[in-house]
């Protein structure tokens, strides 16, 4: 996870305070709810220039910071050399 990502996450996690956000951090436990999740999704798409496909929009995608980062990384990596 890079710093840009964790600092983007922080405002959506009302219980995170200034504490460390690690790969294992459970986003729900830190205050991410279904309403904030949508705003976080928009922030991810704007910040990293990715479009999260519908089938990734399940609870498991938003379970941990590291898991969500993996999804972002996967989407950023050019697949088959193509760009969108």
């Amino acid at each position: 996870m890079n710093n840009e990502f964790t600092e983007m996450l922080r405002p959506f996690l009302k219980f995170a305070g200034n504490g460390e956000i690690s790969e294992e951090s459970r986003l729900r436990d830190l205050g991410l709810d279904s309403m904030r999740e949508i705003e976080l999704l928009f922030a991810i798409e704007d910040t990293f220039g990715v479009a999260v496909p519908d089938d990734k929009l399940v609870d498991s995608t938003f379970a941990t910071a590291g898991g969500l980062w993996d999804v972002v990384e996967e989407l950023r990596a050019p697949v088959g050399g193509g760009t969108r």
Binding site: R28, D29, S34, I38, D54, L57, D59
Partner: protein
């Protein structure tokens, strides 16, 4: 109509007992102890206990069939039954071996009626948070929980209680804990004097006690997953069945009356107004019923219950079944008029059903679910209809 099932005899017995006492329990806002005794003796309480745990292994469809049948004579009894089954399903799906062995065979034998403690002062019915902590005390976990509404609380043999997980950093880390009545000190802290659903006897309570670690269902902080996979689906499906049953029961009584000699004089079946109203009510019930059965089939085959299309459908079921069932009985009141639609002593029981069903949109608020669905729609821009 549903096919004859192995539970028909049990259902018929409970329906008979519930019908015989419904007026008295409604009038006194008293728990239907006779109907509960019948649910114990017929072992209907064990419906959802898997065969491997000593039960009949009833399915979601069985739950809908039975709840709807009970709802036709007494919506309170149907709600009590459906909510008990929701607790059983949670233990069956997430309980550790020791807890399953302790609880499920006893449920199957009719010995345990399980209550649910999810409401909390300040948060209303919000399911996924809890402010009351579970605290470690040596090997035990100490519970001290206030709940403003506990359906059947004074009569439950054990409870599933949501609490904040031990050492939780936030109110969203919620545990689901099993506690038997004799592990708790139970204080009823107020009364129950509602408009409808009076026989659910849903009093405010304070529960204090301590339970061993193995009585935590799933892992610490794991209630959210249980809610997604079992608790919310069974609540919405069970409630919808109770509401639809209640509306169908009232509608059926009105139709039978309308076809009787006395009724034909009163209702003029050739009147187009009467026919239009009768048709409208049936359309509502058929639509809600179709949605209910479809939702059951989606839940039974869903690979990920957290997928937006599934969540949306489950919330839609709750919202729609509440609205259609209440609208149906509201129109019945209009159709049958003051004597049979407004007076408590009418044998058609439309008035009681109307009061009972007024609760449907409030029982986990429709508006709260609409907000959730609004957010969920944005998670599904492809509109993959489940």
């Amino acid at each position: 109509m549903t096919a004859a099932s192995r539970y028909d005899a049990a259902v018929e017995t409970v329906v008979g007992v519930a019908a015989a006492h419904a007026q008295a329990t409604d009038s006194a806002a008293a728990f239907p102890t006779d109907a509960l005794a019948a649910m114990r003796s017929t072992q209907l309480l064990g419906l959802l206990v898997p065969a491997t745990d000593g039960g009949p292994g009833g399915t979601l469809t069985d739950l809908v069939d039975v709840t709807e049948a009970l709802g036709r004579v007494d919506m309170s009894v149907a709600m009590i039954f459906a909510m008990h089954c929701q607790q059983v399903a949670a233990i069956a799906a997430y309980g550790a071996e020791k807890l399953r062995a302790e609880v499920l065979p006893a449920v199957a034998r009719g010995e345990l009626y399980l209550g649910s403690v999810t409401t909390e002062p300040g948060k209303g019915g919000h399911l996924l948070t809890s402010e009351s902590g579970l605290e470690r005390a040596g090997e035990m976990l100490r519970v001290d929980r206030q709940a403003p509404i506990v359906t059947g609380g004074p009569h439950a043999d054990a409870f599933l209680i949501t609490t904040r997980a031990p050492e939780a950093g936030s109110a969203t880390q919620v545990d689901l804990v099993y506690a038997a009545r004799d592990q708790l000190e139970i204080e009823v802290t107020g009364g129950w004097q509602p408009l409808g659903m009076r026989a659910t006897h849903s009093v405010p309570m304070r529960l204090r006690g301590a339970v061993p670690q193995w009585q935590v269902i799933g892992e610490h902080g794991g209630f959210r997953d249980i809610a997604t996979a079992v608790f919310a689906p069974l609540a919405h499906i069970g409630w919808a069945a109770a509401w639809l049953g209640a509306a169908a029961g009232a509608y059926s009584r009105v139709l039978r009356h309308a076809r009787s000699e006395a009724g034909r004089r009163q209702f003029a079946p050739s009147s187009e107004l009467v026919l239009l109203r009768l048709a409208e009510i049936r359309i509502r019930l058929d639509a809600a019923h179709a949605l209910l059965r479809h939702t059951v089939s989606v839940v039974e085959s869903a690979s990920d219950m957290s997928a937006s299309p599934v969540q949306l459908l489950l919330n839609t079921l709750k919202i729609r079944a509440a609205e259609e069932s209440f609208a149906a009985v509201h129109e019945l009141v209009e159709l049958v008029g003051l004597r049979h639609g407004y007076l408590t002593d009418s044998p058609l029981l439309v008035e009681r059903t109307f009061r009972d069903l007024r609760s449907a949109s409030l029982n986990y608020g429709n508006d709260r679910l609409r907000l959730a669905n609004g957010a969920l729609t944005l998670r599904d821009p492809g509109v993959r209809l489940a």
